[in-house]
């Protein structure tokens, strides 16, 4: 069974996003970028399934500009077998991304797709569900545990009140939540090896997929900062302030 995993190049999660001076978008020039942390978890899970003998090949996919190649090389250094880079400078929306992935699935016929539950830039949390819909496959979103069976997968999802376990027929789309695993660091020898692993480059326009945006960004802005309040000396003063000034207890 092949597993397809996705990895998006995003602003490094430890760097604060800043708006461009003209308010047209977020400044991504000359800032550190990284693999979307939820995608790292997805890549790790796919590699573990291969190490466990469940999967035969892990194919990582990224849809983005020239530098997405670096993100794919990271996935290869972690242990993915080969990569597909769909090259575009467009900011493709989740529906368009799902359509591109569908096209790749038709070519590769994976038995499982694992992606991050959301990318930490747009926070949309849509592509996995959309891809599952377009394929007519079941979806396991926000998964924290995966057990592969014969033609099926038992998955545990993080839901609002706790955990939920579902049985999905495979092929299926899974989206990774934080507690699924702890991604490995790529070792130096593996980083060297990753440079020789195959990377297939496909220009987006050659795939014949409709990625015309449906949404226009009118403006982006930074929310008003919350002003710091006062320091209280002790618990008695705190309780008094909450009772008398704020009147919240």
């Amino acid at each position: 069974m092949k597993i397809l995993v996705t990895c998006k190049r995003v602003l490094d999660p430890y760097i604060k996003a800043r708006v461009k001076p003209d308010g047209s978008g977020v400044n991504l020039d000359n800032v550190k970028m990284a693999m979307n942390p939820f995608d790292e978890i997805a890549v790790e899970e796919a590699i573990r399934l291969k190490e466990a003998g469940t999967a035969t090949e892990v194919i990582s996919v990224s849809i983005g500009g020239a530098k997405s190649e670096e993100t794919l090389r990271t996935s290869l250094a972690m242990g993915a077998d080969r990569a597909i880079h769909v090259v575009t400078d467009e900011d493709v929306e989740p529906l368009g991304l799902a359509k591109v992935l569908k096209k790749l699935i038709e070519e590769e016929s994976p038995g499982l797709v694992i992606m991050g539950k959301q990318a930490i830039d747009g926070d949309s949390n849509q592509v996995g569900q959309m891809l599952a819909a377009l394929m007519g496959w079941p979806q396991g979103t926000n998964v924290s545990k995966v057990e592969m069976g014969d033609g099926e997968a038992t998955i545990t999802r993080e839901i609002d009140g706790g955990l939920e376990t579902l049985l999905l027929k495979t092929p299926a789309v899974l989206t990774a939540d934080l507690r699924l695993n702890e991604p490995r660091y790529a070792s130096l020898p593996n980083i060297m090896k990753a440079k020789k692993k195959p990377m297939d480059k496909k220009p987006l326009e050659e795939l014949g997929v409709d990625t015309v945006p449906r949404q226009e960004t009118i403006k982006v802005s930074e929310p008003a900062a919350r002003a710091a309040g006062i320091k209280v000396a002790d618990v008695a003063e705190l309780v008094s302030k909450l009772k008398n000034d704020a009147q919240v207890i």
């Binding site: 849509q126 569900q129 819909a133 496959w137 949404q215 207890i249």
Partner: protein, 310 residues
């Protein structure tokens, strides 16, 4: 315009998130219907029919909807979609699971987690964990939307008398089935709807020490939350997590104990009305957003706080 709201419920009762979603729908404007899909969910539909300003409640009561599997509910929403310009669900784990699936089946983009309605086509939503607000205009004929419930007040629970109309079930897709669920048991309010939340961070040192937060929460009828650091350290389960990657809360009072105040945590609680921070590190970033800061060892402060409130 006509709007369909997907109700959040547990078959027996309507969940509060539905009430916030009604307010978002009212801001868009137009006729509002509510879809209650579930199993033996008549009482939830009845509760929905009493919400003010609802035109009608569509009730799909069938075995395949009992656990809100998106594979089964999405075709039902698609079947009903022709009559609506907007389809809204709360941005809960169920809503976020369902809406993009419906959107793809209808070949439209979804609009996630809206924090404000500018007009019927234009919405504000947080990106980058709420560090950036984005205003977008949708050109899709149908808008598929999830609503950030903390950004819209709850509508009243009664005052309306909408009709409840049964609609045909669409069957079991046969590709996903429910096995079990393990819900955190608590007598106290849910994190996302509690008026007071007290959360612990890495400073709590271990899971046992969360009992000290429980003791204060008991007195205040508060929910207990945690930072991602505390969840990653294994102190408490993930459904306690407040932050970008967990739950977003906006209670009247948020008490952060032993939490440094990473961006990812602030994203989940900075809209709280009053924020209290208790931390022994006076340089902790949490103090920059706190209305009341107490620089003190939490293991001294919590017992004192409990005694002062008792």
């Amino acid at each position: 315009m006509s709007i369909l709201i997907i109700a959040e419920h547990d078959n027996g009762s309507l969940k509060g998130a539905t009430l916030n979603t009604v307010t978002a729908a009212q801001k868009i404007g137009g006729d509002i219907d509510i879809l209650v899909a579930g199993t033996d969910c008549g009482s939830a539909a009845e509760a929905a029919s009493k919400l003010p300003g609802i035109r009608s409640v569509k009730l799909a009561d069938s075995a395949e909807y009992g656990h809100q599997l998106a594979e089964n509910v999405a075709p039902l929403v698609v079947a009903a979609a022709a009559d609506y310009s907007h389809i809204l669900a709360p941005a809960t784990t169920d809503g976020k699971n369902l809406i993009p699936r419906v959107a793809a089946l209808l070949d439209v983009m979804a609009i996630s987690d809206i924090s404000d309605v500018i007009d019927a086509d234009t919405f504000e939503r947080p990106i980058y964990a709420g560090n950036i607000m984005s205003v977008l205009k949708s050109s899709d004929a149908k808008k598929l939307i999830t609503v950030r419930t903390t950004k819209f007040a709850a509508c009243a629970e009664d005052g309306g008398s909408a009709s409840v109309d049964a609609i045909s079930a669409t069957g079991d897709a046969g590709i996903a089935s429910f096995v079990s669920q393990d819900l955190t048991q608590s007598d106290r309010p849910e994190l996302t709807s509690a008026k007071i939340v007290i959360s612990g961070g890495r400073g709590m040192q271990n899971g046992e020490n969360f009992a000290m937060l429980d003791a204060v929460a008991e007195i205040l009828n508060a929910a207990v939350g945690a930072s991602r650091a505390a969840v990653d350290a294994g102190f408490v389960p993930n459904d306690y997590q407040v932050g970008q990657t967990g739950k977003v809360v906006a209670p009247d009072l948020y008490i952060a104990v032993g939490i440094s105040g990473a961006i990812q945590h602030l994203a989940g609680m900075k809209d709280s009305k009053v924020i209290v921070a208790i931390n022994n590190d006076e340089e902790a970033p949490i103090f920059q957003v706190a209305d009341y800061g107490l620089v003190m060892d939490l293991f001294e402060a919590l017992p004192q706080l409990k005694d002062a409130l008792a």
